[in-house]
C-alpha cells in the first residue's frame, strides 16, 4: 500500500536559517503519528509543508500519491492559531459549512479542480453532514452560536468539526489542546483515537509523555527528525531531543 505521507530529503528555511534539514518520513495509511519537539523546532512548518501551504526549497513530499497542493482537499486541518478574527460575524454552523467547500453538494464526492468556481448553495446533504460533524465532536448544541462567544475548548471542537466536514482521509492537527484544560484534552484525544479507525492522523504536541498514550509512533523534530515507536520513548530519547537541560519527572497516569 502506498504511504499516506512520503517525505524524502526535505529541506526548508524561512530566511537564511534552516528550519528543517534532511527530513525523511513515511506515514502509513491508518497511522496515528505524534509530532513533538521544542518550540521553534519546525513542527508547524512540517505540517504546512505537508498541507502545501509552504513550498520546500529542496526534497520531495508526496501526499496520498499526489503533490501536497493537489491533495489538500483530501486533508483536514486544525490550525494552532486560527487565522480569522474572533469577532467575525459568523455562526458555528457556517464555519463548519465552509469545510464542505470543494465537495460535490449532492454526492459528497470530490470534484475536479474547477469545482469551487461554480456558484454553490448549501444543499440538504451538506446540512446533514454539518449536523453529523458537529455531533461527532459533541458540539451539536452550539451550532447557532457566534464563534466569538465560544470558550477555547468549544472553538477547538468547532475547528475539528470544520476539518471533518470535508471528509478527510488524513487529519492534521497543530497543538489541538494548547489552550484548553486537562479534562478537555483527554476528551479530544479520546475522540481522535476513535476517528483514527477511519483516517490517518498527524498531531503536533509539545507534551511527549501525554500523547505517547494515544499515538502509535512519535516523530521528534528539532530541525532534523527522528522517529520512535511509543514504547521506546525513554529519558535518553527526550534528552537527545531537548538537550541536557530538561528536568524529567517520572510519573505514571
Amino acid at each position: 500500500m502506498k504511504p499516506a505521507v512520503d517525505i524524502h530529503a526535505l529541506n526548508f528555511s524561512y530566511g537564511s536559517v534552516p528550519t528543517l534539514s534532511g527530513i525523511d518520513l513515511q506515514v502509513k495509511e491508518g497511522e496515528f503519528l505524534g509530532i513533538v519537539g521544542p518550540n521553534a523546532g519546525g513542527k508547524s512548518t512540517l505540517l504546512k509543508l505537508i498541507l502545501g501551504l509552504l513550498k520546500p526549497q529542496s526534497g520531495h513530499i508526496n501526499v496520498l500519491g499526489q503533490t501536497p497542493c493537489a491533495a489538500s482537499r483530501l486533508l483536514g486541518y486544525v490550525p494552532q492559531y486560527p487565522s480569522f478574527a474572533r469577532d467575525f460575524p459568523i455562526s458555528v454552523e457556517q464555519v463548519v459549512q465552509l469545510g464542505r467547500l470543494g465537495l460535490d453538494r449532492n454526492s459528497g464526492q470530490r470534484n475536479g479542480k474547477w469545482h469551487t468556481l461554480w456558484p454553490g448553495r448549501v444543499s440538504g446533504a451538506d446540512r446533514e453532514a454539518i449536523r453529523h460533524s458537529l455531533a461527532e465532536v459533541e458540539a451539536g448544541d452550539i451550532a447557532k452560536r457566534q464563534i466569538g462567544s465560544l470558550s477555547g475548548g468549544q472553538l477547538q471542537r468547532v475547528l475539528l468539526a470544520r476539518a471533518l466536514g470535508g471528509e478527510p482521509r488524513i487529519l492534521i492537527l497543530d497543538e489541538p489542546t494548547a489552550n484548553i484544560d486537562q479534562r478537555m484534552e483527554s476528551e479530544i484525544f479520546d475522540l481522535l483515537k476513535a476517528l483514527n479507525a477511519r483516517m490517518t492522523i498527524l498531531v503536533v504536541s509539545h507534551d511527549v509523555a501525554y500523547i505517547s498514550r494515544y499515538v502509535s509512533r512519535v516523530a521528534c523534530i528539532n530541525r532534523t527528525l527522528v522517529c520512535h515507536n511509543t514504547d521506546a520513548i525513554d529519558g535518553n530519547a527526550i534528552q537527545e531531543l531537548y538537550g541536557e537541560q530538561v528536568r524529567m519527572i517520572a510519573h505514571s497516569h
Binding site: 498541507l51 502545501g52 501551504l53 489538500s72 482537499r73 486533508l75 486541518y77 490550525p79 486560527p82 487565522s83 480569522f84 478574527a85 467575525f88 460575524p89 459568523i90 455562526s91 457556517q94 464555519v95 459549512q97 465552509l98 469545510g99 467547500l101 470543494g102 479542480k113 469545482h115 469551487t116 468556481l117 456558484p119 454553490g120 448553495r121 448549501v122 457566534q146 466569538g148 470544520r162 470535508g166
Partner: protein
C-alpha cells in the same frame, strides 16, 4: 425639511438625486459589509483615491469623467490586490504610493485639460444634485452586476474573507475571489463617488456596515441593515442640506459619521453591561454551586 419634500415633487433633479442615493446605498451596504469584516478599508481608500487618475484622463481626452472612473477603479483594484497577494513586504507603503500617484496623475490631467476647466471640487466632494438622469441606468447596471455576483459566489466570498488559509486548502482559488471582491469594491466606489465624491467615499462605504455590525451578527443581515441605513442617512443628509443650501456630500458624511460615533458608544455600553450581568451570574452560580 418640509421644503425639501415639496421641492422633491416638483424638481426632476431632486428626484434623480434621491434615486442616486438609493442606488448607491445598495452597493454601500453589500460591499461595505465585506470591507468592514475583511478590514480592507485602507485598500478601499487606495482604490477610491486613485480613481481621480482615471477621471482626470477622461476629462483630458474629452470623455465623460464617470466613464474614466470605472476602468481606473478596476485597474487600481487589480493592482492593489496583486500587491497585497504577491508583495508581502511593505504592502501598506505601496498602497499609499498608488493612492497618491493616482491623485497626482488626475490633478495634472485636469489642470491641462483643454477648453472648459472641469470643477475639481465636484469630483473630490461629489455633487449629487448634478447627477445626469442617464447616469441612473449606468448605476442600475452596476448594482445588478454586484447583486448577481454576490448572490452567485457568497459562499466563496465568505470563505475568503473569513479564513484565506483554510479556503486555499479547500481548493478555493483565493487569489481570484480576492481580486473579484476588490473589483466589486471598485464598482461600488464608482457608484458612491456620484453621491459624496472620492474623498468621502470611504465613510459611506464603511460606516453604515460598521453600525450594522454593532447589532447583528451575520453577513446577510449586516448587508440588509447597512443598505437601509445608507439609504435613510443619505436621503436625510440631502434633505438637511437642501434648506440652508449646504453641499450635500459633506452633510451626508457628517450625519453618517455622527450616527456611527453614537452607535459605537452605545455598543460599548451594551457590551459592558452584558459583561457585568454575566459576571454577576457567574458569582451567583459559584455561591450556589451550580454550573
Amino acid at each position: 425639511m418640509d421644503g425639501f419634500f415639496t421641492a422633491l415633487l416638483q424638481h426632476a433633479f431632486l428626484q434623480t438625486a434621491v434615486a442616486t442615493a438609493l442606488l448607491a446605498s445598495i452597493g454601500c451596504g453589500i460591499m461595505g459589509t465585506y470591507v468592514v469584516v475583511k478590514r480592507i478599508a485602507f485598500i478601499a481608500g487606495g482604490i477610491a483615491h486613485s480613481v481621480l487618475g482615471g477621471m482626470g484622463a477622461a476629462v483630458y481626452f474629452g470623455f465623460e469623467p464617470l466613464h474614466g472612473a470605472l476602468p481606473a477603479a478596476i485597474a487600481a483594484a487589480l493592482l492593489i490586490g496583486w500587491v497585497r497577494l504577491h508583495w508581502h513586504a511593505q504592502e501598506d507603503t505601496l498602497i499609499s504610493a498608488l493612492w497618491a500617484i493616482g491623485m497626482a496623475v488626475g490633478v495634472l490631467f485636469i489642470a491641462k485639460a483643454p477648453g472648459y476647466q472641469a470643477n475639481l471640487m465636484s469630483y473630490l466632494f461629489g455633487n449629487i444634485l448634478l447627477v445626469p438622469r442617464e447616469s441612473l441606468w449606468f448605476m442600475i447596471a452596476l448594482d445588478l452586476i454586484l447583486l448577481a455576483t454576490v448572490a452567485a459566489y457568497h459562499r466563496q466570498f465568505l470563505a475568503v474573507v473569513f479564513d484565506e488559509e483554510f479556503a486555499r486548502l479547500r481548493g478555493v482559488p483565493v487569489g481570484f475571489f480576492y481580486l473579484l471582491l476588490l473589483v466589486l469594491v471598485a464598482v461600488t466606489v464608482v457608484l458612491l463617488i456620484q453621491v459624496v465624491g472620492l474623498i468621502l467615499v470611504l465613510a459611506l462605504l464603511t460606516l453604515p456596515a460598521a453600525v450594522a455590525g454593532h447589532y447583528v451578527h451575520s453577513l446577510g443581515r449586516m448587508m440588509l441593515i447597512a443598505t437601509l441605513l445608507g439609504a435613510a442617512l443619505s436621503i436625510a443628509g440631502l434633505a438637511l442640506s437642501y434648506g440652508p443650501d449646504l453641499p450635500a456630500g459633506p452633510t451626508i458624511i457628517l450625519l453618517v459619521g455622527g450616527v456611527y460615533v453614537l452607535s459605537a458608544m452605545l455598543a460599548q455600553i451594551l457590551d459592558r453591561r452584558r459583561a457585568r450581568v454575566a459576571a454577576a451570574r457567574g458569582t451567583w452560580q459559584g455561591e450556589t454551586g451550580e454550573q
